[in-house]
Symmetry: D2
Subunit: 352 residues, 4 copies
Amino acid sequence: MARSRVNRQQDEESSAVERYLGQVLQHCGEDTSGHLARDLPAPGSTDPALHALALATSDGDEYGAGDDDQLFTLQSISKPLVYALAIDDVGLDRINRVVGQEPSGEAFNELSLEGGTGRPLNPMINAGAIVIHQLLDDHGYGPEQGGPQDSSRTENTRRRTARLLEGLSAFAGRRLQVDWELAEAGYRQDYRNLAIANMLKTHQVLAFDPQEAVRGYSDQCSVLVTVQDIARMAATLANNGLHPQTGQRVVSEHAARQTLSVMATCGMYDGSGRWLAQIGIPAKSGVSGGIMGVLPGRLGLASFAPRLDEEGNSVQGVEMFQRLSRDLGLHLMASERRAVTETLEDLPQQNV
Amino acid sequence: MARSRVNRQQDEESSAVERYLGQVLQHCGEDTSGHLARDLPAPGSTDPALHALALATSDGDEYGAGDDDQLFTLQSISKPLVYALAIDDVGLDRINRVVGQEPSGEAFNELSLEGGTGRPLNPMINAGAIVIHQLLDDHGYGPEQGGPQDSSRTENTRRRTARLLEGLSAFAGRRLQVDWELAEAGYRQDYRNLAIANMLKTHQVLAFDPQEAVRGYSDQCSVLVTVQDIARMAATLANNGLHPQTGQRVVSEHAARQTLSVMATCGMYDGSGRWLAQIGIPAKSGVSGGIMGVLPGRLGLASFAPRLDEEGNSVQGVEMFQRLSRDLGLHLMASERRAVTETLEDLPQQNV
Amino acid sequence: MARSRVNRQQDEESSAVERYLGQVLQHCGEDTSGHLARDLPAPGSTDPALHALALATSDGDEYGAGDDDQLFTLQSISKPLVYALAIDDVGLDRINRVVGQEPSGEAFNELSLEGGTGRPLNPMINAGAIVIHQLLDDHGYGPEQGGPQDSSRTENTRRRTARLLEGLSAFAGRRLQVDWELAEAGYRQDYRNLAIANMLKTHQVLAFDPQEAVRGYSDQCSVLVTVQDIARMAATLANNGLHPQTGQRVVSEHAARQTLSVMATCGMYDGSGRWLAQIGIPAKSGVSGGIMGVLPGRLGLASFAPRLDEEGNSVQGVEMFQRLSRDLGLHLMASERRAVTETLEDLPQQNV
Amino acid sequence: MARSRVNRQQDEESSAVERYLGQVLQHCGEDTSGHLARDLPAPGSTDPALHALALATSDGDEYGAGDDDQLFTLQSISKPLVYALAIDDVGLDRINRVVGQEPSGEAFNELSLEGGTGRPLNPMINAGAIVIHQLLDDHGYGPEQGGPQDSSRTENTRRRTARLLEGLSAFAGRRLQVDWELAEAGYRQDYRNLAIANMLKTHQVLAFDPQEAVRGYSDQCSVLVTVQDIARMAATLANNGLHPQTGQRVVSEHAARQTLSVMATCGMYDGSGRWLAQIGIPAKSGVSGGIMGVLPGRLGLASFAPRLDEEGNSVQGVEMFQRLSRDLGLHLMASERRAVTETLEDLPQQNV
C-alpha cells in the first residue's frame, strides 16, 4: 500500500487514515464465514485470505489498506459504470425504452423482465446489464483495440470491448486490462446469461445476436482492477462524473446522478432497501468479492474479500461498509454532513 | 398565506421565496389533467381548483403559497410518520420481524406480502402500514383522548388513535384533528384494506382483530393537515427528528434515518426508482392530493393539488416537485450541496 | 353398514362387494400418518379411528363398509355440487363472467384471482366457491327454511342456505341438515375467507356483502353427510344429473358434464394433474376427511378418514382411491370400459 | 381422400361418414378469421385455403375429408407422442423427477418452471418437451439413421432423431420423414427455446448441451404428417397403445393412459380447462394448424387448417372439434357412451 500516487497524502494525516482503515480490515477479517464463488477461477477470487479496503475523496485524496494492489475481476461492479457510459453514448430516453429503473423486488421471477414489454426492470440485474452492454456506441473503435481475435468474438464484440475498456480506464484513471482467458472460459458455461439474452431477443429489447451479447458481457465482467481502482471510479461518480485526480470528465453530471440513483434503489438486488437503511451508501457488489460505494459529493469506497454470503455479497465487505458508515457518519440520510476532510482529521483522535 | 407563524420570514427574502413558490404553483396549475379521487368526499379533495405549496427548512424557516391553509386528509402520507413513531415505540428489530423494508417491485401480487412469511414487503404499502399501526404502543393513553365512542371503534382503537394523534401533532408542531365522520364512512367500504388485514391475520403478522386494525387505520388516514403542516413534518424528518421550530425531539435520529431510507426506495410505489432518479427527493404521496418530500439536513417540501394521475399521485404535485428539484438543485445525488439559505437567497435574482 | 336402503343389494353379490370394500378399508387403515384438521371441532373430524368407504352405481345399487353411517361435514366437497346447482340457476354464461374454469397451477398467488379481472380461476378454490354461493337463485325460499335467526345471518343468507339445502338434499336423496353451531363458530375465525371475499368485492365479482358471503359459505361447508350420501351424490353426477334411486332430475345433463370436467382439471388443487394421471377419477376432497369421486356413466365413490396429508387430502382416502382404481379398472383414460356390474361380479373370485 | 388404405371402409357407410366430415369441413371453412403462423415457412402452413379432417376408430376404420393427404409439420402435436415413447424408454419415475404433470395455469411466468426445482410444470409446454426429448433412449440407433450430417447436429442429436422417427412412424403406421431444411432454419432463430433450454441447464434438469437439445427438438417438430397420420396416431393412444391397423404395440397401456391424462389437463395450455369442459376430448394442437384429439377406447380425431387464433390454435380446427363433439356425442364426461360404430351408423339419417 506504499505506492506513489497522484495526490497521495504522505503526511501524518494520511498515516492516521490508513491506520484506521487497517484496523477496520483486521477487525472484519476475523469473520471467516461465507464461501468462495463457485466456478470463478479468477485472479484474487480463489484465495480466501486476501482482503483490502480503499477510500478516495472527491477532492482527489486516496487511502488504502491490505492487499490494495491485488487484481481481481470487476464482475457486476461494471454494471453502474457501463450504465453511466451508455447514458452519454445514446441518451437516457433511448435506454429507458429498453431497460427500466425500478427495483426488481422479489426474486421469484428469475428473469425480472417487465410483464408485457420484456424490458429488464433495471440495469443492475444481469438482464439489464446485457442490454446496456449492447447499447454502447462503438463507432470509432477498431476491433484490434478490443483484444484477441478468436472464434467466439465477433468484430462487434471486439469494438464494444474496446469502447468499454476506454471508458472504464477513464473511470479508474489508468489503463485497465481484461483477463481474456477467463472471459472466454466463463462465457462457455454461462447458461444463465445465455438464457437471459435469448429471452431478451424474443422480446426485441436486444438489438444484436444473443450469444454475441453474452460473449461481450463476459469481457466486461473480466476487466481487472484493484480496490484502489474501484475507489477512484466511485470517487469519479461522487464528483459528478469528473475524475478527482486526472481532471477528465468521464461521464456527464446527468449520467452520474442517474447512475447513483439507480444504485441506491437497485444496487444490492433483493436487499437494496435494507442496505440503504442500514448502511446508507449507494453501492454495487461483484461476485469476485468487491463492493463499490459512493457518497455523492464526498467520497468513493471500495472493499475486497472473496468470501460471499448467501446473496452473493462479500461477507467481510458488508461488515466493513457497516463499520465505515457508522464510524465516519456516511449515511446518505444523516442530516449532518461534515466535509470528509473534517471527518478524517478527527480519526487519529478517535478510539477506533 | 399571510398568517403569522413561528419563525416566519417576514422580510424581503421571504417575499422573494414566496413569490417564486407562487410562480411555480401558477405555472404547474395550468395542467388540468388527471381526475379527483373516487369515493373520497374529504375536505379539499373535491375541489379541483385548490392547490398549494410549502417549504420548511431544517433551520426553522417556512414559506407557503396558494391555498396553504386549506385542510385535507393525510392519507398515505401518514405512513412514514407513523413508521417513525413505531420504531421508537417498539424498536426496529421487532418491526422488521413483521414488516420488511424492500421495494415491492411489480404490482401483480396485489398484496405484496413476502412469500412464506406473509410479511408485508415494506411499510409504505397498505399492508405494511396496517401492521405498523397496530404496533404503536398505546400505554398511557386513555380511550377518551381518542375521539368519539361509536360502535365500530373499540377501546384499543381509540387509545391507539390518541397515541398517533399526539405523535403526528408533535411532527406538525400544532394540535391536529381527525375528520371522524370521514374515518367512519371510509372504513365501511374499505374492502381492500379489510381483505389485506384479514390476510395478514392468517399469516399471524397482525396481533389484534383485522376489523379493528382497518378501523384504526382509517382514523390515521383521516387526520386533517395543511401543506404548511406537512412541510414542517418533513422538515422535522430532515432535521433528524428534532422539530426545527418547537425544538421538540419528535422521533429519534435513528428512526428518522430509517424512515427516510425507506421513503427513498419504497415511497412512490412502483415508480420509486424513477422518482428518485428524476427528482431525487425521498417522498410520499397521499390519495387526497398531497405529496411530502424530505431533503435530509436541508428542508421539507409539501404540495397539494387534488387531481391524480393513473398511479394515484397528484398531477400538479409531481410537476411542482420536478420544478423545485431542478430550480433549487435539490437532487439527493447531486455532488454539490449548497446550504438552502444560499440557494434561496439567489432566487430573487433568478429568472424563474 | 347393515341399514336398509333403496335398491340395496342384499344378495350374495352384494355381500361379496362389501367384503371387498371392507378389505380395502382395513388394508389402507393401517396407515396412521397425517394429522387431524386444525380448528375443525366438527362431527367425525376429531376421531382418527373413524373410516368408511361407499360405492353407488349409476344403476342405483349401493355398497358400504366401515363407519358408513358416521356424519361429518361436507366442506369443499360442496363446491362441485353447488356449482352444478348454480349453473342451472343462473346459466353457465353468467357464471363464466365471474368465475373461470382453469386450473390455478402454482399456489404462490394465494388468492388465485385472474390478473386484471379479479375472477377466481375456477370454482373448486375457495374464491370461486364463495362467488358461486352468492349466485344461487334463492327466489321462492323463505328465510325460515334456512336455519336459525342469529345476528350474523341476514335474511339473504338464510334464503340462500334454504336453497342449497334443498339442492344438496336432492343430490343425496334424503333431507340433509346443517351443523348450525359449527357454521357460526367457523365463520368467526375464518380470516382467510374474509380476506378472499373482501378482495373479490374490490374486483366487483361479488354481488353482495363480503361478510354475508363468508357466513353463507360457512353454512354450505357445514352440511352433515355420510359416505353413503356422498356416494349417491356422486352417482347422480355420474348419471348425468338424474338421481339413480329417486329418479329425480337434480341437475341438467349440461350442468353435470360441466361440473365433472372442472373436477377433472381443478378438483384436487395443485395436485390435480397427478391425481388424474395416477387415479383417473374426477374427484373433490374436503378438509373434514372425505373424498368424492365420479366415473361418468358408471359410478360414484366416497371415502372418509379424517387424517390429512400436507395438501389437506385424507391420507387413507387417497390410498383407497388408488386401490379401487387399480382393482376395478376405473381409470377414465382406460380404453376398456366394462360395465360396473361385470366388474363387481368378478370381485368374489378375485384375490383381493 | 380416395386412396386405398388398410381396413378402409369402401362401402356405403364409409361414404356417409366421409360425406358428414366433408359437410363439417365446408361449414367451418367459412370462417376465415385468424392469421397464419409467423415465421413458419413450412409445407401446408402458408396456404390459408387448405383444410382437412380425419377420424380413425380404435377398431381400425378410418375416414377422411378435404386435403387429407396434405403434408404439414407435426410441431407441438409431437409432445404427447414423444412423452409416451419416453415413458417406456426410461420409466415414469425418472421422468417425474425432471418434468411435472400439473397445468401451468396463468401464463405470466413465461417459462412455467416449478419454483425451487426448476422442473417444467408439464410435458405439454416447450420447456417440458425439450427435457423429454433429451430423455429418449437412443441406444441401438446409429447417427446415419438420423438424417443429414451438418454442423449443427451432433451424433447424439442424430441418434435421438433416429429413435423418435422410429417411434412416431410406428404411431402413424407408416414411415415418416423430417423436413430437414425447415428443422435447420427454425433452430437458428428459435431464441425462445434457446432461452428455455439454457435456463433448464442452470437448474440441472437438462442432461446434455442446451443448443443440442433445441436442435434435436427442432427435428422433432419438423416431422411431416397428414391428418390421416395424426388420426391413426390418436387412435393408437385411444386403443391403449396398440396400433388398430398394424397391430403393433407402439407404447404400453400405462404410457398411453398417462399421456392421455396429461393431455386432458395440460394439452391446450391456458385454455385446457375450458377445452375439456366445452369439447371434452383430450387434445393437443400444433402451430402448423393441426389438432389431435383422443377419445379413450373409441377413436382418434385430427383436423388441419393453418389459420390460428390468438392462443395459437387453429380457428377452424377448434370449430370442427366443437361440432364433432356435439354431433357425435364424444364428450368424455357424457354418461352415455355409445359404440362409435353405432354413432356413425346413425349419421346418414341425421340432418347434419
